[in-house]
Amino acid sequence: MKKPFHFLSVAILLSLVLSACAPSASPTPSAAGGTVVIRAGTGDGGDGLTPHQQIIQNFEDKNPNVIVQLEPVSGRDYYARLLTQLSAKAAPDIMQVGDDAVPSFVTKNAFVPLDTYLKNSNFDASIYLPGLLEPGKVNGKQYLLPKDYSPLAVYYNQKLFDAASVPYPLDGWTWDDLLATAQKLTVKDSSGKVTQWGIQLPAAWTTGFEYWVAAAGGSLISRDGKRFAGAMDSPEVARAVQFYADLYGKYQVAPQPADMNAFGGGNSEFANGKAAMMLFGRWPQSGFKKNPNITLGVVAPPKDKVRANVLFWGGFGIATSSKDPDTAFKYLSYVSGEPGAQVWKDWALPAVKSVADSSGLSKDPIEGVWIGELNYLAPRAYTFTPYWNETADPALRKVLESVILDPKADVKVLLAQAAKDAQAALDKLGK
């Protein structure tokens, strides 16, 4: 009685161990019947997956021998996952990556340069609206093609402007106009408590803040990407930080951030009809259009010394680990080309000019503002050094957090310290 039990348990354990060692069933690149499987990785999630699926459906209808398998990973782990997959040579054939991650992925040799593919397939790269190819370029070579994008703009709630009989902001307005308008629209009750704010600002959002720096005529890093002294601590940057801080502290026309850690400060005043304006990207726009508290208007961000804007961008490229880069390019040129843009246009700003024009978006009173801003783009700071995110970004964030938390903080001292910290971090990494 004892023996068979003994034998059985050993057999079960052995089979368990062996089955654990067997290679798991993973999708093979080429399935039966000559069909090819292309894997497409994206950091989008939820509703954002619908356009991907729609485009894949259209593509598969036209190319019956290709199956595109969408692999969404939303949240902060997306890049970590991509890099792990890349180092295991198991990355998706097509990878979606955001603007400031492009140089670091490319220097890690993750993407295939597209130039020969573009030439051989006669892909017309001039179909895009201005400025949309640049974020996918590193050292003059094209690695990614655009998916979607957004510059910054100022949303305004016409209801609150009408109630206060303040004229709507006009294209070409200045920082002084912004301050004056915001002051007119900030309302206090008898106890001095603010009941309506002039403008909702995106807190310590460093990349968004690059607009203010560019508009003041400044730059956060030297053109050669090596020095912060003379750039981050320059009078232009100091003016931008001081003006931004004063909107919060001195003039009190902007509500304090609700959640310093949330993207854009986590404020809900504009959505609740408690703030007249809001500076941000296009992402929450469809919600604002449906919001009963808001009659929406959009205007370009005000200029200071310079009229400037910054671009936020996502694109697709082909992984170096792809076993079938030719088929991957076929899908890439579809999803990033005109057929893809026909679908994106219902979800985001389309990158292809003909689609933006034919759908009437370029002339639309709201969408036209976003698209028009592509003519005023200043280069983002990350394009000057691949180490931006781990050196200067934390230093700048510290400055912004400090001035928002403490209205009396000395901007010049903070910026000098930030330039020093960023330089020390950069020197350590660049050595």
């Binding site: 003994h6 348990s9 050993v10 354990l13 052995l14 368990l16 161990v17 654990a20 902060r76 782990d77 890049y79 970590a80 890099l83 792990t84 890349l86 180092s87 670091s104 890690k108 040799n109 993750a110 304090q256 951030p257 609700a258 959640d259 310093m260 850690n261 995110n389 781990e390 934390p394 964030r397 510290k398 957090e401 400090s402 938390l405 910290d421 350590k428």
Partner: protein, 296 residues
């Protein structure tokens, strides 16, 4: 006889092999690799470059590493005593075998079962400076509450406050410890004229010391590994006031992809926890009693 022994040995290894293989492949292996990685510069994709002790040398001049050690030690110093005392207090409250006491035990224990992220999100609502439950309640007494997670002076203390929800775990351990104290001791103490306060200090506390010790070690290790609350609620901010060491390791490894530096940080964390735990073990002989005897 020998063959029987060999058979037994064989079946022993076969039987523990699932654990052994798992341990070697998924624990010991990665630990060894992380030690090697800590002597390299490695970004996951390109080949690691051997840099010797450079990563460890860089630690000494890294202001964020020093800040993260400060934050972690402050949190440990605040959390551990509160957890030990709070858990004990709860255990004493729910100890009497009264009708319905099970409900209270369950209620106090429940938060420790919830997922870390879910409970941090609930706390985020409560701590919201505008209209959050806590500042609303303070407002009833005419107190303007601080901006909690948005204020570098309060953020870490807000995280300490969040951790009160973990008291249920130590409460359960204390309850178990209390139940193993022989009732005769209380009878004898009562006969000698000891009141309930005296009984607590002369009987309960000394006989509970092994449980207290166990809780102490667990809490110290847990606080050194704290990550979730700061990761979800503050991401280390504002102004790095909640930058725990593990959060900093995560940032270096999975946001900046400095795997070598992150591995060096992780080994420093390991050394710190090891030294602290050994010190606590050593301290046992001064204050921990096992069934009436001092431990050796």
């Amino acid at each position: 006889m020998r063959s029987l022994r060999r058979k037994e040995a064989l079946s022993f290894y076969v039987t523990i092999s699932p654990w052994l293989v798992g341990f070697l492949a998924f624990t010991a292996g990665p630990v060894l690799i992380s030690l090697l990685a800590s002597f390299t510069n490695w970004d996951l994709l390109t080949d690691p470059v051997w840099v010797g002790l450079d990563n460890y040398r860089d630690l000494a001049t890294d202001p964020l590493f020093i800040q993260s050690i400060k934050v972690t030690l402050t949190y440990t110093a605040a959390y551990v005593p509160l957890d030990l005392a709070g858990g004990l207090l709860l255990a004493l409250l729910v100890r009497p075998r009264l009708k319905g006491m099970g409900v209270f035990r369950t209620i106090f224990y429940l938060p420790t079962v919830f997922s870390g992220v879910a409970f941090v999100v609930v706390w985020l609502w409560m701590l919201n400076p505008n209209g959050g439950l806590i500042n609303l309640a303070l407002g009833w007494f005419g107190i303007t509450g601080p901006r909690w997670l948005l204020d570098p002076k309060y953020a870490l203390w807000a995280l300490v406050m969040m951790s009160f929800w973990g008291w249920g775990r130590s409460m359960a351990l204390y309850l178990g410890g209390m139940q193993s104290i022989p009732g005769e001791l209380y009878e004898a103490a009562a006969m000698d004229g000891a009141g309930s306060l005296r009984q607590f200090f002369a009987v309960t506390l000394p006989l509970l010391s092994p449980t207290i010790f166990f809780n102490l070690v667990l809490s110290v290790i847990a606080t050194f590994q704290s990550f979730t609350s700061a990761f979800v609620a503050t991401n280390g901010g504002p102004l790095d006031s909640t930058l725990f060491l593990v959060l900093y390791i995560y940032r270096q490894a999975f946001e900046f992809f400095h795997m070598g530096y992150a591995a060096a940080l992780a080994w420093v964390l390991f050394a710190l926890v090891l030294v602290l735990t050994l010190l606590l073990m050593r301290s046992q002989k001064f204050w921990v009693f096992y069934l009436g005897e001092r431990s050796e």
